[in-house]
């Protein structure tokens, strides 16, 4: 059956060498993903639920413009800072604490926005450490984090470490021969960056920038809290408003479609990533000896970058230390929240990783057959999932499930699905290069050996791709750990996650205990990431 479907798919897109399973499974996964998203939007549109379009659509033009402005600026600044930092990490492949530092870089994305905002405020706020420093120096200057600057700082704090990690992941796929050649051809730092790293950056940056841009358009709490007032209103605020007092899901859907169209335009403008099929072995070994100048510069960049990322985390940790830990741990909700959060995170990360693998395979199949446009479209379609607010997914699915009579009974499944959809683009970005390289290297061999299907996966694909797949899995898990998302809609006393417990505490004057929980979430994410990356740095080839 799958062969027939694959064949007709092959005919539709003029496929020269039909690759049955990859086409079928990939398009199937993609269709499910698209269906899940489209059904939510469609259901809210046709349900007639309060389709009053209250307040009309006035004021949306400035909101749209500001959405674009802040997202574009945030993306540019994140990337501009992330590239040198990634290069610095690459220049210093071995130093004490490198892995721990990179694990901390995975934390920001896993924290609820409000926790990050509070951490940043501890530093940059009116009553923050920087203001204190100036006061001690006798200067009465206070940083003003409220406004575009604050939004940018917060978005860069979220997205710059993400970009660094994604870039380093892409660097891992450079074949070791290239590093040997660089040493043999007497490349200096400039040559290495220009001829080995930059091509990889050029290839992966469009995809990464697209992700960051979408994340920034979807930002909500940060925009409101640090924006300083209604002057900095975005489409996302209008969407949340339509899902709040106005409760007009149809309007929220229309706005989401508008936002998707907008981001679609931006994604379309982003150039296609250069196709760099690389085969062969990779390793963390480097064969050049970075000069003192290079190492000092790298160290300086690294220290600055680490300071920017780690200091708010320390502030968050510090704020959490003073919490009433006995009271937090003593709560039966605490254990429940950890278990629930972990199970949700693991399930959605598993779903996201599997679908990302299948979709990455599809993309490879398309790309290696010269269907670059299709391959690119597949990637961008998956990325677009980030443009749909989780709450809207929740409402849409609810409307659909209302037909089964017990829509809220499926709440856990909905939460997992929504988180998986959100994590999919990241997982895809994490593993694409590795999947491309691996298939490019081993496909022919496997075909020659008649290895296929599940056996091939177990014997060949899994052992080779394990670092990439587990990297993607951890990333997705971290993302879901900190996500409040649809829990807010379905949430009840039955489903308590760490983020929802944090909000419960914040909502009852208990900001200290909320701080403690944020600390635990930080430690949990950091530990998970550290654990998951432990095997990626084996030296032996």
């Amino acid at each position: 059956m799958d062969r027939r479907v694959a064949k007709s798919l092959g005919q539709i897109i003029r496929f020269k060498r039909p690759d049955g399973t990859r086409l079928f499974a990939g398009f199937l996964a993609l269709s499910i993903v698209a269906l899940l998203a489209a059904s939510a939007i469609g259901a809210t549109l046709v349900s007639g639920l309060n389709a009053r379009y209250g307040g009309g659509f006035a004021g949306l033009v400035p909101a749209t413009l500001f959405t674009l402005e802040q997202a574009a600026l945030s993306t540019i600044v994140s990337v501009v800072f992330a590239v040198p930092l990634a290069l610095a990490f690459e220049s210093l492949p071995r130093f004490f604490g490198r892995r721990a530092l990179l694990a901390l870089f995975a934390v920001p994305l896993a924290l609820p926005a409000i926790a990050v905002v509070l951490g940043l405020i501890t530093l940059y706020g009116r009553n923050g450490l920087i203001a204190d420093g100036f006061a001690m120096g006798g200067l009465n200057w206070k940083p003003d984090i409220y406004g575009l600057a604050g939004i940018l700082i917060a978005h860069v704090f979220f997205n710059m470490p993400l970009t660094v990690r994604l870039l380093l992941k892409a660097f891992e796929d450079i074949p070791q021969e290239q590093w040997k050649l660089a040493a043999n051809l007497r490349f200096g730092a400039v040559g290495r960056i220009r001829h080995i790293l930059l091509p990889v950056i050029r290839k992966s940056l469009p995809g990464i920038a697209g992700l960051v841009f979408l994340l920034c358009t979807g930002s909500y709490t940060i925009i409101l809290v640090l924006g300083g007032g209604p002057a900095t209103t975005t489409l996302q605020v209008a969407i949340q408003q339509a899902l709040s007092f106005d409760f007009d899901p149809a309007k929220a859907s229309l706005l989401t479609i508008a936002q998707l169209a907008l981001t679609g335009l931006v994604l379309a403008v982003i150039p296609k990533g250069q196709s760099l099929f690389q085969t062969g072995r990779v390793s963390m070994r480097r064969y050049h000896h970075a000069g003192l100048g290079e190492r000092s510069l790298a160290l300086a960049v690294l220290v600055l970058g680490a300071l920017f990322v780690v200091s708010p985390l320390l502030a968050i940790g510090w704020a959490g230390v003073s919490a009433d830990h006995a009271r937090i741990m003593g709560s039966h909700l605490f254990g429940q929240a950890i278990v629930t959060s972990l199970s949700v995170a693991v399930s959605s990360a598993l779903l996201a990783t599997v679908s990302a693998y299948v979709i990455a395979s599809l993309r490879y199949a398309l790309d290696s057959n010269g269907q670059r446009g299709w391959a690119d479209g597949v990637g961008k379609l998956s990325t677009a999932m980030l443009g749909i607010p989780a709450l809207l997914l929740g409402v849409g699915w609810f409307v659909l499930l209302a037909m089964t009579g017990r829509p809220f009974g499926l709440a856990p499944l909905m939460i997992i699905l929504a988180n998986a959809l959100m994590a999919l683009p990241f997982a895809l970005q994490m593993m694409s290069a590795a999947v491309d390289r691996h298939f490019g290297t081993d496909d022919r061999l496997c075909a020659a050996l008649g290895l296929k299907g599940w056996r091939r996966f177990a014997i060949v694909d899994w052992p080779v791709l394990r670092p990439a797949l587990s990297g993607a899995f951890l990333f997705a898990a971290a993302l879901s750990l900190g996500d409040l998302g649809v829990v807010t809609l379905y949430g009840s006393d039955r489903i308590v996650t760490l983020p929802s417990l944090i909000y419960q505490n914040l909502g009852s004057y208990r900001s200290n205990d909320a701080g403690g929980l944020v600390l635990y979430l930080t430690v949990l994410t950091g530990a998970l990431t550290l654990y998951g990356t432990r095997s990626q740095f084996h030296e032996h080839d």
Binding site: L49, G54, L118, I121, Y146, Y220, G228, P230, G507, A514
Partner: protein, 337 residues
């Protein structure tokens, strides 16, 4: 294809059955929809459940969503399929919209024992607690707190206030209504004058209050009862509410019986319990609001120290419903410059 369809239908029905099994209702169950901070471990929920179940030989089942607004939205989603017998935690600004859903029925109870400022009564919604909105300040930084809204507006911009967004939060809407009550047509001017003192506008109360206790702003829009929490639970008088001469806007939290709950004899029992001292005793020091009904013993003396507004503002639910959008637009225009 056929087999796949069959299989997925099977899967769906299995999931549905599983879900049904998980949330299976026991014979004598009362389902109450409410908001999260009510059911939090430290909130009134667990005590209310224990007290009610002690007498009724039944199960009180709470289903909690984020806040009052989400509560109403969930009902709008579920409509007639709702599992709720009782909805507890809407406020008077939402009752008009709630009535429009047609999901609620009159309570038919004698509520003369209840007393809320302004004497709110309704044939569907029963008040269970209340508090006035107030500007809460940090007494270590604010030595001369504003004595009126006029003073707050006229003050210099060096002391900041955090407010909530009326588009997404109840206190945010409360402040808009408060301003409107005081300034009427001149509200836009008042907002424009207040603007330089507003540090930022947060999506909800939690974010605003966190910023405030972190020391980012000297003042925050909260409730007259907020200081009671700090005085009783944290033993500090640092955070105080400012009494405004013009008067304060009132928030009343209400509960009501749904169409579905009409068929459940436990519903009436719960509403009667809710206005009784057994329930009302729990409210002050767990929900940090004033009880609407009589309590067994006088409240903790700390509550006597709370600001007692000279005048209470409260728009009718109809007025709020009719004007909310226009007034929020006015707010947005005044601040959005």
């Amino acid at each position: 294809m056929r087999s796949i369809l069959l299989r997925s239908r099977l899967l769906l029905s299995t999931l549905a059955a599983l879900a049904g099994f998980l949330s299976i209702a026991q014979a004598e169950t009362l389902t109450v929809y409410t908001y999260e901070s009510f059911t939090a471990e430290w909130g009134p929920g667990p005590k209310v459940k224990a007290a009610f179940e002690k007498d009724c030989a039944c199960t009180l089942d709470f289903v909690a969503v984020t806040d009052g607004v989400a509560l109403l939205n969930r009902l709008k989603l579920e409509q007639a399929d709702t599992k709720a017998d009782i909805v507890l935690g809407l406020d008077t600004n939402l009752t008009e919209d709630a009535k429009a859903t047609g999901l609620f029925v009159p309570h038919g109870m004698d509520v003369s024992g209840l007393s809320v400022p302004g004497g709110f009564t309704d044939d569907i919604f029963i008040p269970y607690d209340f508090a006035h909105f107030a500007v809460v300040y940090d007494s270590e930084k604010v030595k001369t707190p504003p004595k009126s809204m006029a003073e707050l507006i006229a003050a210099g911009a060096d002391q900041k206030i955090v407010i909530e967004d009326p588009r997404t939060s109840t206190p945010g809407l409360g402040l808009v209504l408060w301003m409107k009550s005081i300034y009427g047509d001149k509200a836009a001017d008042a907002w424009a004058k207040l603007a330089p003192k507003i540090l930022t506008v947060t999506p909800g109360w939690s974010e605003a209050y966190s910023l405030f206790t972190k020391g980012e702003a000297e003042m925050v829009l909260s409730y007259t009862t907020s200081p009671a929490y700090h005085m009783i639970a944290e033993n500090t008088g640092r955070y105080q509410a400012a009494a405004f001469e013009e008067g304060h806007y009132l928030q009343i939290e209400v509960a009501a019986k749904t169409v579905k709950g009409k068929a459940n004899p436990l519903s009436d029992k719960f509403l009667a319990f809710m206005v009784s001292p057994a329930f009302q005793d729990i409210i002050p020091e767990n929900n940090w609001m004033f009880p609407a009904g009589k309590t067994t013993a006088p409240l903790n003396p700390v509550f006597d120290k709370m600001v007692k507004p000279s005048k209470t503002f409260l728009y009718s639910a109809t007025e709020v419903s009719a004007n909310r959008k226009a007034w929020i637009d006015e707010w947005q225009k005044a601040l959005g410059k």
